[in-house]
Amino acid sequence: MRWYNSTNKKFLYLLPGLLFVLILVAYGLLQTIIESFADPKGQGLTFANYSRLFEQKSFWDSLVFSFRVSFISTVIALTIGIVVTKFLHEILLKKSWKLLIWLPMLFPHFIAGYLILLLFAPSGLFSTLASQIGIIDEMSQFPIIVMDRQGVGIILTYIWKEIPFVVLMLLPVFAQIDNRYKDVVRTLGGGKWETFRTVEWPWLFPVVVETGLIIFAFVFAAFEVPYLLGATYPKMLPVLAYQWFFEGNWSNRPLAMASMLLITAMIMILATIFFYLLQKKRYRMMRGN
């Protein structure tokens, strides 16, 4: 029992969890990889599915659309989240207010999407109100916000859902910031913007990037909200993959596997790049430049 020392002991305790992850995640991923490379006619492995995927106009349009929707949702949610936390963090640290801002987190994403649908559809609540007040003559004049080709409805849902998440991530950072630094900036004649830029932002930056990455990855790979609120064309990639996987024609299934793998790869590459950049930044901060 020489291997049963303290380092290995920790490892042994982790074993059940590790096995669980390995069996469920690794096996699924492996199966997806195999199927995405499987030759549609025979047994061998081939890139045919990928080249077929890259020939699809709907794939490229979906990729661009997914990227745009995820990027816009992330940036807006982060911006509003930072502003809200900056100006309200003192109040928000009290329990009752915390509950209020976190309320949207209690709803599943699907419910949030459905709420947006009920509120913003051309026959929805806001449209009905507007036509009754007389802002618009007919319900069909109401601007098209859900199931639109720009993905406004999807973006709205994610902003509404993710702002509380941003606030949750940033609150502890604001609580940690040493207020004496702010005094220094002020004594030296710096304004509010200077204070934010030189004192708060360097503290916030790593967490903001991390939060942004989580939101981006989440939206990029999300299914239910774009399924509910998306237009016929272009569809977000996961919706397209779902369609390819579940439609009657099973010959498109490898396309679904290939596109999901590409999504995974893209998120992993993005994460690696940002963490690398962040690491450098942290190192510089530590040294005090």
Partner: protein
């Protein structure tokens, strides 16, 4: 040291996976083949006091009510078979069976499921079905026209007894007679009506079963010769050569559709929602009696009526089947046989239940059932049986469904972008 542990984990995993895949239960499959050779009385005895699990689409309250409140108690009383219904979409059922097949799981959880068209084709081609059981059922022999095309072919795929016909449905349009005085009678008429009422009509995406059926009907018009389409089976060249009229029609109506054709309802349910909210004035569906329960429940306006176009309405038969790994095959046979009985089929036709047309040949029914059929009032929104029969168009090969899906995206949705 760490390397050793890693290797042992991998070894452990490999053993689990190999052990999971290696089980082959030959005894079960042998026994299940034998059931088809038993005579019916013995099968009924075998089925007694067992549980039969039926998996089927659960999106319609009328259908669910018929299964739970009429079929299940009667089956229990007459045959001592307990029917348990699980709602699940057919493609998910096939996915589940496919996974079980790969894992060599010969004892599944599904005894019966409901399918049709491309789902049947996929199931048949992937050997997910049990065997040729339908011609063994007493009620199939007694009441079903075993010669007719719609029983022997499911969207162009030979049935080969792998599934038993359960019901027939026909494509109809629903409209609100309070808003539309004279419903259109031809596709040309429909176009004029759309131009006069912009934004009040749309159809579900071609990926949706109903949306695809709407486009298939246009395809018939575009090809012109339906007989030829049926006899030749699937012919991509013919489809490409004679579909110009269909694509130009779909593109010409685009500016007058709901949302100017920028987006389409994803499913029939979405279209029904638009109709019930008054955003559009027409909806459609593959069941001539579908409006009845919607009106009753107050989802559709009371003034909802149905119509078919002069050029016809596509109709098809849908089926019940037994998967390869059903744990209770004798029970499944008894339940399916019961679902094909005149009592069950006539009850299914009642507007308060499902309201759908029966799969039986009316001329083969006994006198009592014939009378029942004659006096059955299917509800005022259902067209007369003669009108429906007169307009009935058959389904074509299911590969056309795929062909339409793919080309619709290219020819209509991406067009002009």
């Amino acid at each position: 040291m760490k390397k050793n542990i890693f290797i042992s984990i991998i070894a452990f995993l490999t053993i689990i996976i190999i052990a999971g895949c290696g089980q082959k239960d030959t005894a079960v499959s042998k026994e299940s083949e034998a059931i088809l050779e038993e005579n019916w009385e013995d099968i009924a005895v075998l089925a007694e006091e067992t549980e039969v699990r039926i998996f089927m689409w659960g999106g319609d309250d009328g259908i669910n009510q018929y299964m739970d409140e009429w079929v299940a108690p009667n089956l229990m009383e007459q045959y001592g078979v307990k029917l348990v219904r699980t709602p699940m979409d057919t493609h998910e059922i096939l996915q589940k069976l496919m996974t079980e097949k790969r894992a060599n799981k010969n004892e599944g959880t599904i005894d019966i499921f409901w399918l049709n068209g491309e789902n049947f084709k996929n199931a048949k081609e992937n050997d997910l079905l049990w065997g040729s059981f339908a011609p063994n059922l007493p009620n199939y022999l007694a009441y079903i026209d075993g010669e007719s095309l719609d029983v022997n072919y499911d969207f162009g795929t030979p049935v080969d007894g792998l599934e038993a016909p359960w019901g027939k449905a026909q494509f109809v349009f629903q409209y609100d007679s309070a808003k539309v005085a004279n419903p259109p009678t031809t596709f040309a008429d429909l176009k004029i009506w759309m131009e006069e009422n912009p934004g009040r009509f749309t159809y579900p995406e071609a990926n949706d079963f109903t949306g695809n059926a709407f486009i298939r009907h246009l395809f018939y018009e575009s090809v012109g010769d339906i007989e030829m389409l049926l006899e030749n089976g699937y012919d991509a060249e013919l489809a490409n050569a004679s579909s110009d009229q269909m694509w130009s029609y779909l593109n010409e109506i685009k500016p007058y559709l709901w949302r100017k054709g920028e987006t389409y309802p994803q499913t029939l349910t979405d279209l029904d929602r638009l109709y019930s909210q008054g955003e559009v004035w027409m909806t459609m569906g593959y069941n001539e009696a579908r409006a009845v329960s919607f009106i009753e429940d107050g989802i559709f306006p009371e003034t909802t009526e149905t119509f078919v176009l002069e050029s016809g309405s596509i109709g098809n038969t849908h089926f019940l089947t037994v998967p390869f790994n059903s744990p209770n095959k004798s029970g499944a046979l008894v339940a399916i046989n019961y679902l094909l009985s005149p009592e069950a089929q006539l009850a299914k036709m009642e507007p308060g239940m499902w309201g759908e047309n029966m799969a039986l040949d009316p001329t083969k029914l006994g006198e009592e059932h014939q009378q029942h059929l004659a006096t059955l009032d299917r509800g005022k929104s259902v067209l007369a049986a003669e009108i429906l029969q007169e307009h009935l168009l058959p389904e074509v090969d299911s590969r056309y469904v795929e062909w339409i899906k793919e080309n619709w995206l290219y020819e209509v949705v991406q067009f002009n972008q």
